[in-house]
Amino acid sequence: MKLELRGITKRFGTLVANDAIDLVVEPGEIHALLGENGAGKSTLMNVLYGLYDPDEGEVLLDDKPQSFDGPGDAMEAGIGMVHQHFMLIPVFTVAENVALGQEPTKALGALDIAEAKKRVVDISERFGFNVDPDALVEDLPVGVQQRVEIIKALSRDARVLVLDEPTAVLTPQETDELMEIMRQLASSGTSIVFITHKLREVKAVANKITVIRLGKVVGTAKPDASTSELASMMVGREVGLTVEKSSKQVGDVVLSVENLAVLDDRGQRAVNGVSFDVRAGEILAVAGVQGNGQTELAEAIMGLRSSLTGFGKITIKGSDMTGSSVRQVLESGVGYIPEDRTSDGVVGAFTIAENMMINSSYTSRFTKGVNINFSARRKIADELVKEFDVRTPSAETLAGKLSGGNQQKVVVARELSRDVDLLIASQPTRGVDVGSIEFIHERIVIERDKGKAVVLVSTELDEVLALADRIAVMYRGKIVDIVSPETSREQLGKLMAGVAA
């Protein structure tokens, strides 16, 4: 099916998320929509999918104008979408999730579960997905959940399939498999819109590339365009794709973790017998597909999550910190960039200055006796805003009003401006624009060169390869191996899938 978007404009208040965007996707074409975080890709797709009403412009399918009142209409018209945040109900089975909205029924409106399962198995077999229709979605790994999303779209006869950042949760091998599926679908006539910010994938699979920046189409390109050309189109200036890094000068062990085991929120073992050391002056990257225990590992080191009784020992600078409170850990000289900026990193309703002192609200440079030293706080906050290049009218602006990248810089500024010996950075650049990514990466390397120990938890292989001095790959709560950054992507992919070398 041919998809055409004509002059789509969508405004949120004063912000123009999409500005007169035109896009044509021919039948059987894999069309990549390339853009930075916050460029307006997802907004555009939500307009296409009927979740948002466009302020101007129209959507055409096979040259016929469409008007969608909701996602139901879009689906009816043949548009299927695999969302970045999966639209699956965790407590339902695969079959129930796929059936939802177009349920096969028997008498009395009773669900025909057998028929629902058959639909899943049919599609699953056609594409070699290997998905169990009876499994509860919450028990499945994210890669499989994504396949369920694809099955969901296909079971609705989608002839235009939109994939929103589909590779963010996959290992390199799974990514290759997904690309193969995309090619297979395209050759059967399905039009595919592939939304991403990863240049390598675009070049590998797309037939045509449209680049958007700040809500506007800035150009189109062929997949044979060079990576740096695409990158500068996407960002709007020349970008350095590599991080400058001198060779490491390691010192003493700063953090030592021995046989750590931690439960997740559901009472399952998320971390299961993990041991490693991090020395001063090195960056240890903890790589792996999301949901293999990295989050819980970082939280356990910080004291946010308790380790299992009788298991594990966390030693920081030679003193035993197992079972310590968060405050004790922070005061022992640890900086922490949490994974979820909006819920754990900053308080949106606080000003930047307030956020800067939030983990040193007791005796610190921000206080005078039991009071806040307002003049000192203002001075420090202004300096930090300048030093860390936070783009804001003033340090008294609410943190919630900042863009993701600038919020993250506030977090980084807060953590690095304290005198720390160990930095735990969990997904420090997730959902952050390229300019801020470069900046944050540089700051992390500076800390390492100053002789600090850094633990970088990241699911982005590019980030891991750019920064790490050693890479620990986690799979199902265990460290499969600790390898050097010279290891090939392919080899790392295997480790991420749990195959030990």
């Binding site: 979740l51 009403d53 909701g70 996602p71 139901g72 689906m75 639209m87 939802l100 009784t309």
Partner: protein, 418 residues
């Protein structure tokens, strides 16, 4: 797979066996060793029943001994489960509870009779408003709307049923208007919660206060002045189902009741079927768990919530009718008397599941009749103690056996698009 060393946090623990053993010891000491003199007679059949079963007579303190030992044996089974790191199965806990109840009845009624049919039957009748209220609450919560206005819905239903039945002299119209009364309260909740995205708890509190106020005002100014014409509905006829009502115990308890009880008995499994086996239920649960996901497959979240909340109100309204024309025979000021809040607790205790919630409601019905009956057979025992027992049991049951429950994920979160 190799044996994994389990940490303390991963073990099932010994909460269940310890609780069970302590209660067992308590029963042996207080009901057995220090037990009361006299025989307890368990009457299985009523005098009017067609088939007469013999009563069972046993010494009160011997019953204490026997049941205490049985309880300890079950505690032992629970201990062996814990040692194997398995949870104590639910049926074992239920059996345990049943034996405990018999021990309690036997102790209370030393030298007296225990009319089993009467106790179970009355528990059921008293539980009906709680059951229907809980089903109403459950229907709202399953689609993600917190309904703490069950009390208001019960009261509105009770009021409407009494007044309309009195004026029209027609119970059918009374029942219909009770459902409308409950639904009207729900409508206010639905409009504020779904359309205006108001804080649902606050709307619920306001509705409770409002309906208590309105019904009390009307009761004072109107019903008491003209009681004969507007608050004298009488009660629904008791329907005896032929043959089935002659079965011992089950017959009089289940098949010889007012229409409100039958409706509740049919509605609970029906709601279970709708929620878990039909398209409607699948969609409703999807809306309560992840409304955005439901929206992306073309389910209208607002409309689904609206209908379920309204239907929930009808169920609770009918529960209100069970208070007046299904039991007391007239409306009284604030007559729901906290049943709505008990229903709210029952929803959680029953983990948002119709069958378990209905069983939990029965427990509360039983606690009410136990208080009344125990006062008659053993005037010596402080009433306050007896009132306390079912609640203590509930607390223990929740802590030791129910464990962590998982409410619908999107509960109380308004849904907005874009």
């Amino acid at each position: 797979m190799s044996q994994i060393q389990l940490a303390k946090e991963e073990r099932i623990g010994f909460k269940s066996p310890i609780t069970m053993a302590s209660i067992g010891v308590f029963v042996i000491i207080f009901f057995g060793v220090l037990g009361r003199e006299g025989e307890t007679v368990f009457e299985i059949s009523r005098r009017a029943d067609l088939i007469q079963l013999p009563s069972i007579s046993i010494g009160s303190s011997s019953l204490g001994w026997v049941s205490g030992i049985l309880l300890l044996l079950i505690a032992g089974y629970s201990l062996s489960s814990s040692l194997k790191n398995r949870k104590t199965p639910l049926w074992v806990s239920v059996l345990y509870g049943a034996i405990g109840v018999i021990a309690l009845l036997g102790w209370l009624a030393a030298g007296n009779q225990v009319p089993l049919t009467f106790i179970i039957g009355t528990s059921l009748v008293l539980a009906v408003p709680i059951v229907l209220g809980a089903m109403g609450g459950l229907m709202c919560e399953r689609v993600g709307v917190t309904n703490i206005a069950i009390e208001a819905q019960l009261l509105a239903g009770a009021f409407m049923a009494a007044v309309v039945s009195s004026i029209t002299d027609n119970f059918f119209l009374g029942l219909i208007s009770a459902m409308i009364g409950g639904a009207l309260v729900s409508l206010v909740l639905a409009v504020f919660a779904i359309k205006y995205l108001a804080q649902q708890i606050i709307v619920g509190v306001v509705l409770n206060v409002l309906v208590i106020g309105i019904t009390s005002f009307l009761f004072q100014q109107w019903l008491t002045q003209d009681a004969e014409n507007v608050n004298f509905p009488g009660t629904l006829d008791i329907i005896k189902i032929p043959f089935l009502s002659d079965i011992p115990v089950i017959g009089p308890v289940i098949f010889e009741n007012r229409i409100t009880v039958f409706v509740a008995l049919i509605f609970v499994p029906t709601l279970y079927f709708i929620l878990f086996k039909t398209k409607l239920g699948l969609r409703a649960r999807a809306v309560g768990e992840h409304p955005l996901a439901a929206d992306t497959v073309g389910i209208n979240v607002g409309r689904t919530r609206f209908w379920w909340v309204t239907m929930g109100g009808m169920s609770a309204g009918l529960g209100g009718a069970a208070l007046t024309i299904g039991n007391a025979g007239a409306f009284g000021r604030e007559m729901a008397g906290g049943f709505g809040f008990i229903a709210l607790a029952v929803v959680i205790l029953g983990r948002w599941h119709p069958i378990s919630a209905a069983l939990a409601a029965l427990l509360f019905g039983f606690s009410i009749i136990l208080r009344v009956w125990a006062n008659q057979v053993s005037p010596g025992i402080p009433t306050d103690f007896i009132i306390m027992v079912p609640y203590v049991v509930t607390v223990i049951a929740v802590v030791a056996f129910v464990g962590q429950s998982r409410p619908p994920k999107a509960l109380a979160i308004p849904y907005t698009k874009g």
